[in-house]
């Protein structure tokens, strides 16, 4: 294998790679040849090729050696060999970032760029711009302007594209070339036109009017280049998206007219643009869909792929629009390109009827092992969507998913399957047993810790409530024996949940936990010991509080509170009630079924409430209010596009409410000072303090606060309306310079009323096991009352209204009303201001209207009264 590659070996080489065994040092040694006179173009060319090859292979060149080679290379400019010169340009570009002092070739390049030899000019411009920085750009500006309007297309294109690159370095200089670019845009050469259009758009991007004018001009005069058309379509659709003019504008007409272009590239771009426009009606989509349908039978795989991929996107929003293509899509199922076949099937799954599901699933299973993970995820997501649509098909899906789970696949893929099975189980009680069984089987041989812990958690939650919980115990305990620490700990928690809910299993669970107390890992041992001792007490309330419904506080807040506690040691025990509650994260709709890159945002963002807590604590007047209980969503107090823009966030504390007013002044000839928002409460609330925003310049948001105290005596009257008026001192100022007058005058501005409702006093808290929590709170403060909701016509509406009105968290998925039922029970949980748990069980019955029996339990009397008073 010892092969020294020189000329001879290359000659004898039998089809192997002559560059394979290149050594960097040897090549650099050879580069000394550049200094010989006369220059041997062929040999120098070969050496330059070797250098470029090495760079291309990712070989690292040190600054010293690169600089040395670069300087030797500059001598080659003396040769007039065309190819050699061109390779020099390439070397310059490649080495621009590695070597030092690359600017010494500036004059040589400038000479070539303005010279007679057209073959040199374009590449020389591009090489020159690669080594030019902002300070030097001025020096070559004159040449660049000339080159942009040059009649040789390659020169003009090179100058335009280089200008585009240069914009990142010096926008202001390039902006001066706009007239030249404009001239180039009317060139006959298709590429020059494309590049000029691109550059013009970049230069005018921030000026919507100019962009609109530009589009108008080009749509009228027409373009030659299909690339330029694609660019224009993109610009037009961007503009259309930003303006809310609807789709009657000439922009939309232009895009639609492109559907009749003679280039497939343009037709496809137009169809794709129409489909991606928000709020497109079925009628507007129809022509785009029909061109895509034609593409489906194209002999070119790329075109078929593009068409079916775009149809797949349409099917997500408008399944009915795609049904017309079903026949064409079915033909694509057997496509030799697996990506096309997969996309065709998933599209069909979205548009097809219930009867076709079985057949499609069978077809997928024949080739699912041949496609890439990205597409497998797409398939799984399509199945997941299908299960929601046709719940009766869950047996077919479940078998299919479990087969997929057994196959090889990466983490993303497995996670998608597990998520899908989990959601089926949650949606569909009938499928629970089989789903759990499949998952149990999966964790027997699962290499992903995250998935194993997730499944164990699910088993702990769902397993104990199945008819035969004992069969899961074996699977769970196997994990304790065989897995790593994280999984073992999760398994211990799951075991404890079985023990807490199943009397008959308790003795065996206790034995198992006792064994876990011998574990080598601290966390596992701690959990086992803790659960063992809690379970031994055999008290329902303890089980509920410590095993079934875990902590509901925000982790960040907890950390802060504990840190504070350790800093100021006191006799008092640490009070968990002083820790802010964790807000229930909004359930993110997974509508995005497109295969996206597996790059997830892994950062933990501090909860919104923790940010507010910090902001408010920084204001001295609010220091003694205690822990922030709840912050509302922002409420707009002004119409859009008025002089001043004000929105309010309500921060609720134990005995006070702070209104945070975010104000923006949209008048550029005014400076506002000492801004406060005066509030007049309708009920027994008392305004305590105003924190003004010192000054409010044009378009810079400012914040002012108003503090009110909650009424003490009449504690059930929690709702209140506040009349709001913004008061401030105006100083007129010059709209251009922003310099204000010395004198100001007072003025006020009436805002819309602000409502405080029951919702603001209750924080949503999810109790994973409502029954246990219900028993834990007990009936000490239980209140019950029956109401008739005559205006509500369906159970769904009633449920939505109640949840919205009370602002509490629905538990046990009781917010979803099963179809064709006349009665429903809604479970709600939350924490009332001050830290008292509050649970609501609301029985609903549908007759002519909806009749509702509300039962409230709480750890204190007031909250229960408040709720009933509010409902009534």
């Amino acid at each position: 294998m010892i092969k020294k590659f020189d000329k001879k070996d290359e000659e004898a080489g039998s089809g192997s790679n002559p560059f394979q065994h290149l050594e960097k040092s040897a090549v650099l040694q050879e580069a000394r040849l550049f200094n010989e006179t006369p220059i041997n173009p062929r040999r120098c060319l070969h050496i330059l090729t070797k250098i470029l090859y090495l760079l291309n292979q990712g070989e690292h060149f040190g600054t010293m050696e690169a600089t040395e080679a670069f300087f030797a290379m500059t001598r080659l400019f003396q040769s007039n060999d065309q190819t050699l010169r061109r390779m020099c340009y390439l070397t310059i570009k490649e080495m621009a970032n590695i070597s030092e002092d690359v600017i010494i070739v500036t004059s040589s390049l400038t000479k070539d760029m303005t010279g007679k030899e057209d073959v040199y000019r374009g590449p020389a411009i591009r090489a020159l711009c690669r080594i030019t920085d902002a300070t030097m750009l001025q020096a070559i500006e004159r040449y660049m302007k000339q080159a942009i309007v040059d009649k040789v297309p390659s020169v003009s294109s090179s100058a335009l594209v280089s200008s585009l690159h240069m914009m990142k370095i010096s926008y202001d200089v390039v902006k001066r070339w706009i007239n030249e670019a404009q001239e180039a845009a009317s060139s006959d050469n298709i590429m020059v036109q494309y590049h000029a259009l691109g550059l013009l758009y970049y230069l005018r991007k921030n000026d919507r009017l100019a962009v609109a004018k530009m589009i108008n001009k080009f749509t009228k005069s027409g373009l030659k280049s299909p690339f330029a058309y694609c660019m224009l379509i993109r610009i037009a659709s961007r503009l259309l998206e930003e303006s809310d003019k609807g789709h009657n504008s000439p922009l939309f007409d232009f895009i639609e007219s492109c559907l009749r272009n003679k280039h497939e590239m343009v037709i496809y771009e137009a169809a794709s643009a129409i489909i991606h426009l928000p709020n497109c009606t079925a009628r507007e989509l129809a022509p785009a869909v029909s061109v895509l349908q034609l593409f489906c039978s194209s002999p070119k795989p790329a075109l078929r792929y593009a068409a079916v991929r775009t149809l797949n996107k349409v099917a997500m929003k408008h399944p009915s629009a795609v049904t017309a293509c079903n026949l064409d899509l079915e033909n694509l199922i057997t496509d030799s390109n697996r990506s096309i076949a997969t996309l065709a099937i998933t599209t069909l799954l979205k548009t097809g009827s219930e009867s076709s599901v079985d057949r499609l699933m069978k077809q997928i299973s024949t080739f699912v092992s041949e496609i890439s993970d990205e597409f497998k995820v797409v398939v799984v997501q399509a199945i997941s969507a299908l299960c929601q649509k046709y719940p009766r098909k869950h047996t077919v899906m479940m078998t299919f998913l479990s087969n997929m789970l057994r196959d090889d696949g990466g983490f993303e893929y497995k996670r998608a399957i597990v998520d899908c099975i989990t959601s089926i189980i949650e949606e569909n009680p009938d499928s629970k047993e089989s789903g759990l069984a499949h998952l149990c089987e999966f964790i027997e041989d699962c290499e992903h810790t995250v998935l194993a812990t997730k499944i164990l958690h699910l088993l702990g939650r769902e397993g104990p409530r199945t008819p035969n919980p004992s069969k899961y115990i074996r699977f769970v305990f196997n994990r304790v024996v065989l897995e790593n620490e994280a999984v073992r700990a999760a398994a211990v928690s799951a075991l404890a949940k079985f023990g807490a809910q199943n009397e008959c299993l308790l003795p065996s669970v206790l034995v198992l936990l006792q064994r876990c107390m011998m574990d080598s890992d601290d966390e596992v041992r701690d959990r086992a010991t803790f659960y063992f001792n809690v379970l031994k007490q055999k008290q329902i309330s303890l089980n509920a509080a410590y095993i079934l419904n875990g902590l509901t506080v925000s982790v960040l807040g907890m950390e802060k509170a504990l840190h504070q506690y350790t800093l100021e040691p006191s006799e008092k025990p640490f009070d968990l009630k002083s820790v802010p509650l964790s807000t229930v994260p909004l359930v993110e709709q997974k509508a995005d079924l497109a295969p996206v890159a597996g790059k997830q945002l892994g950062k933990t963002v501090p909860a919104r409430q923790d940010i507010f807590q910090e902001q408010l604590a920084a204001i001295p007047e609010f220091k003694n209010l205690g822990q922030l209980f709840k912050s509302s969503e922002p409420i707009q107090l002004t119409e859009a596009e008025t002089e001043y823009f004000v929105r309010c966030i309500k921060h609720v504390f134990t005995d006070h409410i702070v209104f945070q007013f975010d104000c923006t002044n949209t008048l550029n000839d005014q400076l506002l000072e000492k801004v406060i928002v005066q509030v007049e409460p309708s009920e027994g609330y008392e305004v305590v303090y105003y924190v003004p925003a010192a000054s409010l310049p044009y378009n810079q948001p400012g914040i002012c606060y108003t503090l009110v105290r909650l009424p003490e005596d009449e504690s059930t009257a929690v709702s209140c309306t506040f009349n709001c008026t913004m008061k401030f001192v105006v100083r007129d100022c010059d709209p251009h310079t922003g310099v204000p007058d010395d004198e100001g005058y007072s003025d006020e501005y009436v805002l819309e009323d602000l409502e405080v409702t029951i919702e603001d006093h209750i924080q949503k808290v999810l109790k994973p096991n409502f029954g246990a929590a219900w028993d834990e709170v007990g009936d000490a403060y239980e209140k019950e009352e029956t109401f008739a909701l005559s205006t509500t016509k369906t159970l769904d509406d009633a449920v939505t209204n109640i949840i919205k009105f009370l602002g509490m968290q629905p538990c046990e998925r009781s917010d979803k009303v099963p179809e064709n039922k006349n009665s429903h029970v809604l479970y709600l949980s939350g924490v009332y201001r001050g830290g008292h748990d509050i649970l609501v069980r609301s029985r609903l019955a549908l007759a002519d209207g909806v009749t509702m029996q509300v039962t409230v339990r709480s750890t204190d009397e007031t909250p229960a009264d408040v709720i009933l008073a509010a409902v009534g």
Binding site: H165, S339, E374, A597
Partner: protein
């Protein structure tokens, strides 16, 4: 929906690759920071090769990127762009690259001839794409601009064995075909 419409941009191509039939890199040019280090690039190339070399379909979605490809004897050509990019534009780039090389190499688009004309490849790619922007899409123009005078190399400069070798190769491939 991932309807974050593409910012209208001329930067179309993320990378151009040419691999041999073992998946080794013969040529690679990355135009943005999707794969900043050589290690990541090689891993991506390996993945791409494993997923594509057995199939002759010309398009795939990999690691969230659209990949169009084409193979010729023992060479694999790839053009890579964002998954939102117009697939046909990428295809135009791939076709232009392939057709230009095919003309320059006189239809012998295979590893050995390509390696003997690396400078031609470097120059052609440079004429087709500049920093991710499509510079030219017409193979005729590209060949014209590269203006490689491979033909005017007098026969005497080629050694006898080289001539023999290339003749042998040509016969071999014509038989294999």
């Amino acid at each position: 929906m991932d309807a974050v419409l593409l910012d209208p941009s001329l930067y179309t191509v993320k990378a151009v690759l040419i691999l041999d039939n073992d998946g080794e890199r013969l040529f690679a040019k990355y135009y943005d920071e999707t794969y900043p280090s050589v290690k990541e690039q090689k891993a991506f190339e390996k993945n791409i090769f494993n997923k594509t070399h057995r199939t002759d379909s010309e398009i795939a979605l990999l690691e969230g990127l659209t990949v169009v490809y084409k193979s010729s004897i023992d060479l694999y050509f790839y053009v890579i762009g964002s998954s939102h990019e117009n697939e046909l534009m990428l295809m135009a780039v791939l076709n232009c690259l392939f057709d230009s090389l095919s003309q320059m190499l006189r239809k012998n688009v295979e590893k050995r001839t390509l390696l003997e004309n690396m400078e031609g490849l470097f120059l052609a790619v440079d004429e087709i794409i500049d920093g991710g922007v499509i510079l030219e899409s017409d193979p005729q123009q590209v060949v014209h601009r590269v203006a490689l005078r491979g033909d005017d190399v007098p026969l005497t400069e080629q050694t006898v064995s080289q001539v023999l070798q290339s003749a042998k190769e040509q016969i071999k491939w014509s038989l294999l075909r």
